[in-house]
């Protein structure tokens, strides 16, 4: 830093002993009597001296005396604590530089000490003997004397001690003020006498007054020349003016100065002319600006501590002090003075004149200061600045004086409001303290002054005020200043401060530092911090200044700071509660119960953390420095609830890219947690990197809600895991299984409590894309079983069995076999007529345990197909396509078993966690029903359901389709099976009839079938077995007639005997067979317009029914009767007789038809409309064999 000193400092120290500058001087000091206050001896305490001086200054700075002509005069006095003897030599030039009075202070305990004090006092007297008028000594002894001016009994003053002493017994000094005033008056009288003496002197005879350096100039000059005489006179008048001014005769003084100016101008005596000008200015200033007189007690540098700019100062002064008299009032009231603008003009002239003399540099400087002070008072800062500018044309002088000069300059600049210049000067002053020429560098002083300069350079040592948004000032200058501060702090032996300043530099100036500077600063910081580790606490200096903490927010640089949610299965979720009733409104802007509007800060994260769980924040760090950076002890800075942060250490390679770091911690309480940032320990400095101080952070802080403790569970299944499962929220494990359609399996799910608190609540549900009905079929479990195992203590397990069932549609939708759906009536009616002759016989044949060949089935199928009216080609093609692409490819059912659990405090707060098990069930097709039909069965209460069943597996299958009926099917084989099914009873239909929809009826019947039939299959060779059901069958109207129980109850009597369907009827040719048909209505409403008919036909067993039996049968009685109404549970009976004329097999076709209600279209009875046009047949037809009796 020493090398940084500017050129000004390197000028050599001159041999200049003529004067010591007094930069404190003001224009008013021209009118003062100079008194030196000096403590003598070592006994007296500085504090006592200070107090006494204060009292003296207070009472004696301004006092009035009565002069010889009984006029009141106001006299000013100036007190100094030290005064160089050399300065008194300038007393002829300006009389106020003479030291007129001396007051010493001393304390003694014994005679020897008293003698010493007296001796010292006399020494001072001798020192200033040239100018001194009078002196006093204040002596504080062990006891008071009776007479103040005499020593107390037992003490005597030395014989050569001629001074008046005040002997006090203690340091209270009761009548000090009075004594001092007396002393000052004495001084005044001497002064006034001298002045009068001068006025009486004839100017012709007066001796030439000289400034100290002028002595040699006048050697050899003709002193008697006219010019010189004039010079003598002019100087004498000026001298008289000085005396008059001191004696309080301002008017006289001004006149004297004015005439001196005239005289001296004539002889080109520039130095004294300048002095005369200055005198004029001084008088004017005293008159115009009485406030400028220093207010006792004077505090040096006081203005430097306060950073308020000068503009404020002016205002405050104007308000507190009495208003200065205007020039007019002064002029009219008393006498002529200079106008304010003339004062500075005169000062400028004076300074110009002084500047002509090399040896008058000090006088010139002092005049500049005085002039600038007046300019400040006049509120002309530019003018003042111009005077002060003059100060920079440096006169060589010792360092101490330079420091003085610069500090005074700074003081004045501050008063002007030129804070930058003030700081500039202060910094120079600071550097002079430690300059190379300074024999004993004082780093402490240097540091203190440097610290004061910061405000002018707009450098705040608080990093918060130096944020990029509101930083001002000049970075390069600030960087230099910070470096200097650091050096000074280091040299004065305060490494903590040095560390702090370097840290601050790296924090706030980082963006303005070059790469090299950054590296240097970082390395230096590392070195400095080895002596004293930096910590984020404010440092308090001896002077009371607090240096706020600085943090390394840029090293390492934070690129991102993201709070992490808990893992999905650990995220707490609100347990849904039944909503409280808030009235009829869904939304209300009025917040009931609380007045505070919820201000949702953006920084609040929308997820929750859990007390006791490890919560994480991920960060990306960048090392901008060209060496490896060790960051240790990284922790999260939090506010709010107790948070246990886990320290983290990391090494970031030189100039690395972003490196991810995860900071973790555990909240220990429920409530709101604020994450303010993180702390690091890096380059030997502990830093609190708050997010608000880090650049480019989105949020200043993050707020997280921490919910009370929740349990944690681990879930395992007994099934193998799936290879991959759809990634999702809270899935912890997975299970997979393959099931053939209709197969069931079990899966044991084990729940282990791995947390710290018991699990008190478990709620299991399944989520899948399936509809709820299918879902409930596929997944089942026993809820109670689990509930009995609760609560689940930590480290214990509970298990639950999940039953899975491969629910499939075994019935292939009819689209492929659309023909049966679209034209249902034809084939069914055909079948229903033709079927019984062939099918029952086949079905009743012992087909059990016979393996059918596919050829048979296919031929059978093709027959069926042909019977449906489609060509055989179509049938084969459909078969081929079936083989090529199985209708039901294996489909996978995915489900999530959601285990919602909670416990402990979190449960009370209404939170739970959800762990899901992903379950994939691959459903393989087992059996498939590709076609179906119904046939009348042997019993009227039953019908045959004929199914085309295909084994979709590649295994041989045993299909158990009815009691004791089973069939073996090869893999991929189809076959047709008849299943006897009870007809749908009427009471089931009536449930539906209310709605009267055919579709509903069909559904009911389909359900009826499904509930009664079960196809149990078992794959031979494997363990698999399952059950296929028949849900999804669609039934046509004609099928329905068969499926449904007839609403009409038939009661057939043959030859007066009740006929049962299995009965074999036989009669001989020519017999008269009496057929009685009783019909009773089983419905709950009457049937109308029924036609009951009995017909006979012959079944040729080839699909042809021959009804034309006129020649073979004769019927006695009407074979057709009309029944207008048949009441509910009403019964109708009709009888006819039949005589068979030829032998053979005959069948009775007994049917009951309800006529179309065309005559009565207004009939709206649903049952009528549904039953209208229906034909109910008695099934199976009664068969009668007519034989020849012979």
């Amino acid at each position: 830093m020493r090398s940084a000193l500017s050129v000004i400092l390197s000028s050599p120290v001159p041999d200049n002993k003529m004067s010591h500058p007094d930069y404190e001087q003001t224009a008013h000091d021209h009118a003062t009597i100079l008194v030196l206050l000096k403590p003598v001896g070592t006994q007296i305490k500085p504090k006592t001296v200070d107090r006494l001086c204060e009292r003296i200054i207070k009472c004696g700075s301004r006092f009035t005396v009565t002069d010889s002509t009984n006029n009141q005069r106001e006299i000013l006095a100036r007190y100094v604590r030290d005064y160089p003897v050399e300065n008194t030599e300038w007393g002829d030039f300006q009389t106020h530089r003479r030291l007129l009075g001396l007051i010493t202070f001393g304390k003694y305990e014994n005679q020897t000490e008293l003698n010493e004090l007296c001796r010292l006092h006399e020494t001072f007297k001798v020192k200033y003997v040239q100018t001194l008028y009078d002196s006093r000594t204040i002596l504080i002894g062990p006891n008071a004397s009776e007479k103040l001016s005499e020593p107390p009994p037992g003490f005597t003053t030395p014989f050569n001690f001629k001074t008046t002493g005040f002997f006090y017994g203690d340091d209270l000094c009761p009548d000090l003020e009075a004594q001092i005033l007396e002393f000052l008056k004495g001084l005044f009288y001497v002064l006034d006498y001298k002045r009068l003496d001068r006025t009486r002197e004839k100017f012709d005879k007066v001796a030439l007054l000289k400034a100290p350096f002028e002595e040699k100039d006048f050697i050899g000059l003709d002193l008697e020349s006219r010019n010189n005489r004039k010079r003598c006179v002019g100087r004498a008048i000026k001298h008289l003016g000085d005396l008059s001014l001191q004696a309080g005769l301002y008017s006289d003084a001004f006149n004297n100065y004015t005439s001196a100016v005239v005289t001296l101008q004539g002889v080109n005596d520039w130095l004294w002319l300048g002095a005369a000008y200055e005198g004029q200015c001084a008088v004017s200033a005293i008159m115009l600006y009485p406030n400028l007189f220093r207010s006792p007690p004077l505090q040096r540098n006081s203005s430097l501590q306060e950073s308020s700019p000068g503009k404020q100062r002016r205002d405050s002064q104007a308000s507190t002090l009495p208003i200065s008299p205007t020039i007019d009032t002064v002029r009219t009231a008393k006498f002529q003075v200079l106008a304010p603008e003339d004062i500075s003009k005169r000062y400028r002239d004076a300074i110009v004149h002084y500047s002509k003399y090399q040896n008058a540099g000090i006088i010139e400087n002092e005049a500049s200061f005085k002039a600038s002070r007046i300019s400040i008072e006049q509120n002309c800062p530019l003018q003042a600045a111009a005077f002060l500018n003059n100060m920079f044309n440096s006169i060589p002088m010792p360092e101490k004086e330079k420091i003085d000069r610069f500090t005074t300059l700074a003081e004045l600049y501050t008063a002007l409001g030129f804070t930058r210049k003030a700081s500039f000067c202060l910094r120079h002053a600071a550097l002079h303290y430690v300059s190379q020429k300074n024999q004993n560098p004082d780093w402490q002083q240097c540091y203190n002054l440097l610290l004061q300069t910061t405000s002018g350079f707009k450098l705040s040592l608080d990093p918060a005020e130096m944020s990029p948004s509101n930083r001002r000032g000049w970075p390069s200058i600030q960087i230099q200043l910070l470096n200097e501060l650091e050096t000074a702090a280091n040299r004065m032996g305060n490494p903590a401060l040095a560390t702090r300043h370097l840290t601050f530099l790296l924090q706030t100036m980082y963006n303005y530092l070059s790469v090299n500077q950054r590296r240097d600063a970082a390395l230096q910081l590392q070195a400095v911090s080895q002596q004293c580790e930096g910590a984020p606490v404010p440092l308090v200096l001896d002077s009371g200044i607090v240096i706020p903490p600085a943090n390394l927010t840029n090293i390492p640089r934070t690129k991102s700071f993201v709070l992490k949610n808990l893992q999905p299965h650990l995220q707490p979720q609100k347990i849904e509660r039944v909503k409280e009733d808030h009235g009829p409104f869904l939304f209300t802007p009025i917040n009931f119960g609380s007045l505070d509007r919820k201000t949702i800060s953006k920084s609040k994260v929308d997820y929750l953390w859990v007390d006791g769980d490890i919560c994480e924040v991920t960060m990306q760090l960048v090392n901008p420095l060209p060496f490896e950076l060790h960051v240790s002890n990284m922790r999260l800075l939090t506010n709010g609830v107790v948070f246990e942060s886990i320290p983290e250490s990391i090494s970031i390679p030189a100039e690395s890219g972003p490196i991810a770091v995860t900071l973790a911690g555990t909240p220990r309480e429920a409530g709101e947690l604020e994450i303010l940032g993180f702390s690091t320990h890096c380059l030997g400095v502990k830093s609190d990197c708050q997010l608000k101080h880090v650049d480019s952070m989105i949020h200043q802080l993050y707020t997280v809600e921490v919910v009370p403790q929740l349990p944690k569970i681990n879930v395992e299944t007994s099934l193998p895991r799936t290879a991959s499962f759809s990634s999702a929220d809270n899935i912890v494990t997975s299970a997979s299984i393959s099931l053939y359609g209709g197969e069931s399996a079990e899966c044991t799910i084990t729940i282990t409590n791995v947390g710290q608190v018991p699990v008190e609540m478990v709620d299991i549900s399944v989520q899948s894309t399936l509809d709820s009905l299918t879902k409930s079929k596929v997944f089942r479990w026993n809820e109670e079983d689990l509930q009995t195992q609760l609560p689940l203590q930590p480290q214990t397990s509970a298990s639950i069995t999940l039953y899975m069932h491969a629910a499939m549609d075994f019935v292939v939708p009819t689209s492929r076999h659309g023909s049966t759906g679209v034209y249902p009536s034809q084939p069914n009616s055909l079948l229903s007529h033709s079927g019984p002759s062939s099918l029952p016989s086949r079905l009743s044949s012992p087909s059990h345990h016979t393996k059918r060949q596919s050829e048979i089935t296919s031929s059978f199928r093709s027959a069926t197909n042909s019977s449906t009216g489609s060509s055989s080609g179509a049938g084969s093609s459909s078969r081929l396509s079936k083989l090529a692409a199985p209708l039901h490819a294996s489909n996978v059912v995915e489900g999530q078993l959601r285990i919602k659990y909670s416990g402990a405090a979190g449960f009370g707060a209404g939170y739970c966690r959800v762990s899901s098990v992903f379950i994939a069930i691959e459903m393989l097709p087992s059996v498939q029903i590709t076609g179906w039909d119904v046939l009348p069965a042997e019993l009227p209460t039953q019908f045959y359901l004929v199914l085309d069943v295909t084994n979709m597996t590649n295994h041989e299958m045993e299909l158990n389709y009815a009691t004791n009926k089973r069939i073996y099917m090869e893999g991929r084989e189809s076959c047709r099976i008849p299943i006897p099914v009870d007809r749908c009873p009427l009471n089931k239909q009536t449930l539906v009839n209310g709605s009267g929809n055919v579709d509903d009826l069909q559904k009911v019947c389909a359900e009826h079938i499904a509930s009664l039939t079960d196809l149990n299959w078992q794959l031979l060779g494997t363990e698999s077995k399952g059950q296929a059901n028949l849900t999804g069958l669609t039934l046509t109207q004609n099928m329905l007639d068969l499926v449904r129980m007839s609403p009409l109850q038939w009661e057939i009597t043959i030859n007066e005997k009740v006929f049962k369907s299995q009965d074999e009827l036989k009669c001989t040719l020519g017999d008269c067979v009496s057929v009685g048909v009783g019909v009773s209505n089983a419905l709950e409403n009457p049937l109308k317009n029924l036609t009951l008919s009995v017909n006979l036909y012959q079944d040729h067993h080839n699909g042809v029914h021959n009804y034309r039996l006129d020649s073979r049968v004769s019927i006695a009685g009407a074979n057709k009767v009309m029944l207008p109404t048949l009441q509910e549970s009403g019964r109708a009976y009709y009888e006819c007789r039949v005589v068979f004329l030829t032998i053979g097999q005959y069948k009775f076709d007994i049917q009951c038809t309800s006529r179309e209600p065309s005559l009565n279209p207004s009939v709206t009875f649903t049952e009528l409309s549904s039953n209208a046009g229906h034909t109910w047949r008695y099934t199976p037809p009664i068969e009668i064999k007519v034989v020849d009796d012979c």
């Binding site: 530019l382 600045a385 409001g417 804070t419 930058r420 210049k421 001002r472 000032g473 390069s476 200058i477």
Partner: protein, 136 residues
């Protein structure tokens, strides 16, 4: 001609500073920085006396043995500072005014750049060349 040219923003922070002798840059930083005091004072007086003061040229701010420092303030309180060598006595006031005018035009061009955010550091090649023209 000029040894240092500086543009100072509204808030008295440096927007641009260029010196002939970059090794001694800090010295000029100090000079320009302290001259802001006088600029501010001059601007204060300006606003007090004449509101519609059209004169943007502030004249010499101060002079040392080595350098003379001139100031110029735009109506938007952007300050231009030019440091000249005191030895260069041939420079008239008018020439200094011309330099400032050039600088002002160059600055206006910079600000007209739609991508320039007012208050940012000036980083413009065109401005650089204008400044070096003044300094050459």
């Amino acid at each position: 001609m000029a040894v240092c040219v500086a543009v100072i923003g509204k808030d008295n922070s440096p927007k641009y500073i260029k010196c002939v002798d970059e090794t001694n840059a800090l010295q000029f930083h100090y000079k320009v920085h302290t001259s802001i005091d006088i600029v501010e004072e001059k601007l204060n007086i300006g606003t007090k006396t004449v509101a519609d003061n059209k004169e943007l040229f502030l004249g010499m701010l101060y002079s040392t043995e080595e350098y003379k420092i001139f100031g110029y303030a735009t109506n938007t309180k952007i300050k231009f500072i030019i440091v000249l060598q005191s030895s260069n006595a041939t420079l008239r006031d008018n020439e200094v005014r011309m330099m400032f005018r050039k600088l002002h035009i160059a600055y206006a061009n910079v600000v007209s750049d739609p991508f320039y955010i007012p208050g940012d550091q000036i980083k413009s090649r065109a401005f650089d060349s204008a400044v070096s023209e003044i300094m050459s």
